[in-house]
Amino acid sequence: MASYPAELRYTREHEWAKVEGGRARIGITHYAQDQLGDVVFVELPKVGTRVRQTQSFGVVESVKAVSDLFAPLSGEVVEVNQPLTEHPEQVNRDPYGAGWLIVVAISDPKELEQLLSAADYEKFLETAGGSTGD
């Protein structure tokens, strides 16, 4: 599996979004989970909450750090990955699969233009590095 799948879109805060029709599945990137280390707690919004692009929608905590989660896209939360409450380590094990965080109904598809392609995200990691509260 590629560290940064080509079908996803990325933020400079190390979230990914996968467009599924009018919805987007959202998670954190391989780089983010690696920098955080063992994730031990995830705090997510409830279904029905409206999240806004670039705004915090939750928190992920590793043994040593607390990090805000920033929404790649605006929209209403329509699904939350409830099993992460009991098994937050899925964020480390499978950040693009079982470790997804929320699904939102996209309110403004134009916002997708703000997001990075996998190639651009990897370029961003090489040049800027990252800050995930490490």
């Binding site: 280390g37 063992d38 031990v40 707690f41 705090e43 928190v59 905590e61 590793s62 043994v63 040593k64 607390v66 409450t85 380590e89």
Partner: protein, 371 residues
């Protein structure tokens, strides 16, 4: 961290070894130290189930030698120094006149008039100034920190691993006792002490020969499932034991009695620095106490979070994390003395919201140290 900051950090004799092992390095108390290698939770489990090696060379070592060494240390530290036998180790404290804690330490009686004191890395300069300012009589004090390496080998397989590499009969060393010998051919103090709740050793070595011993431990220990362990797991391991960490749970503003360290304060021994202030606390009773707590709600308590009850602040969190071996969110903190009983319900304020917690029996983890 900016490169200029990293450059100013001090390095232990094992720094190059950590980099070779692919450790993630962080600044800690002025030192560039490994926070993790394979991952904090995995390293934590390695220590609980097999054996782990920690570089703790950043810690400080002071030597006190001379006919007045016992008397001087008796006045300087809170525990009873004359009761310490040659070959024995004592946990103790340095206190200020007002009862606040300068540092916590271990004291080794190397010979009748010869002691070694091990202090926290971040406190070496402060402690050295303090002890040299207070030592009286015929005592030769020496700061041996820079020339001393220190490796902790901790876990159920530690005795077997160290035993295979040394000419010392490690099975004969009791808890909080030490012996001198060679480990991997290098002269060492082999001390049955640690900061994890597991059986294990701390090996004091010449700084220049610390790396070959580290390499020998990791090579010989392969069949035991050995791993290098970073500061991250060192912190979760000690938290499960409710061991205080200086700068987090104890400092110059906390006194030993409220911190639950009254067992290393021997008031009947006579005068020592801080005694009158500590006697007053004892007479009046501490107004707050350091407790261990477990989260009832799902939330992680962190250093500095407020502890509240019925909306009023009753204390603060000093340490908190997920405890991998107890599979709970646990922490330590100061609460008003009336709320210190096990089972007392408290709230920890996490991002502005009160989350239920309960004062817990400690240690959280049942220790496996040698009796």
């Amino acid at each position: 961290m900016a490169p200029s900051d990293t450059a100013r950090l001090k390095r232990t004799p094992l720094h190059a070894a950590h980099v070779r092992l692919g450790a993630r390095m962080i600044g800690f108390g002025g030192w560039d130290m490994p926070v993790q290698y394979a991952g904090i939770v995995e390293e934590h489990r390695t220590v609980r189930t097999a054996v782990g090696c920690f570089d703790v060379s950043h810690m400080g070592e002071f030597e006190f030698r001379g006919p007045d060494a016992t008397r001087a240390l008796q006045r300087l530290t809170t525990n009873d120094v004359p009761s310490l036998a040659v070959g024995q180790v004592q946990y103790s404290l340095l206190c200020y006149e007002d009862g606040g804690i300068v540092d916590d330490l271990t004291l080794y009686r190397l010979a009748h008039d010869d002691y070694m004191m091990t202090v926290n890395a971040a406190n070496i300069d402060k402690d050295w100034a303090w002890v040299t300012g207070h030592v009286e009589g015929k005592v030769d004090a020496r700061n041996a920190s820079a020339e001393t390496g220190l490796i902790a080998v901790q876990g159920p397989k530690a005795e077997g691993l160290v035993g295979r590499l040394t000419d010392v009969d490690v099975t004969a060393i009791g808890y909080y006792r030490f012996a001198r010998g060679r480990v991997a051919g290098v002269p060492a103090i082999v001390s049955r002490t640690g900061y994890t709740g597991e059986d294990g050793f701390e090996l004091y070595l010449p700084a220049s020969s610390t790396e070959p011993v580290w390499d020998a431990l990791l090579t010989e220990g392969k069949r035991d499932g050995v791993g290098p362990i970073g500061l991250g797991a060192r912190d979760t391991l000690r938290l499960e034991m409710r061991y205080a960490l200086y700068g987090n749970d104890i400092d110059q503003t906390t006194n030993p009695l409220e911190a639950g360290l009254g067992w290393v304060v021997k008031l009947p021994k006579g005068d020592f620095v801080g005694r009158p202030a500590i006697e007053r606390v004892k007479a009046e009773g501490p107004i707050r106490r350091l407790v261990g707590f477990e989260m009832v709600d799902r939330a992680v308590a962190r250093h500095g979070y407020r502890i509240v009850r019925d909306g009023a602040e009753v204390g603060h969190v000093t340490s908190g994390s997920y405890g991998p071996s107890v599979d709970r969110y646990i922490g330590m903190g100061y609460v008003t003395a009336a709320l210190a009983a096990v089972g007392t319900e408290i709230d920890v304020e996490v991002r502005g919201r009160p989350q239920k917690a309960r004062v817990a029996t400690t240690p959280f983890y049942a220790p496996k140290v040698k009796k």
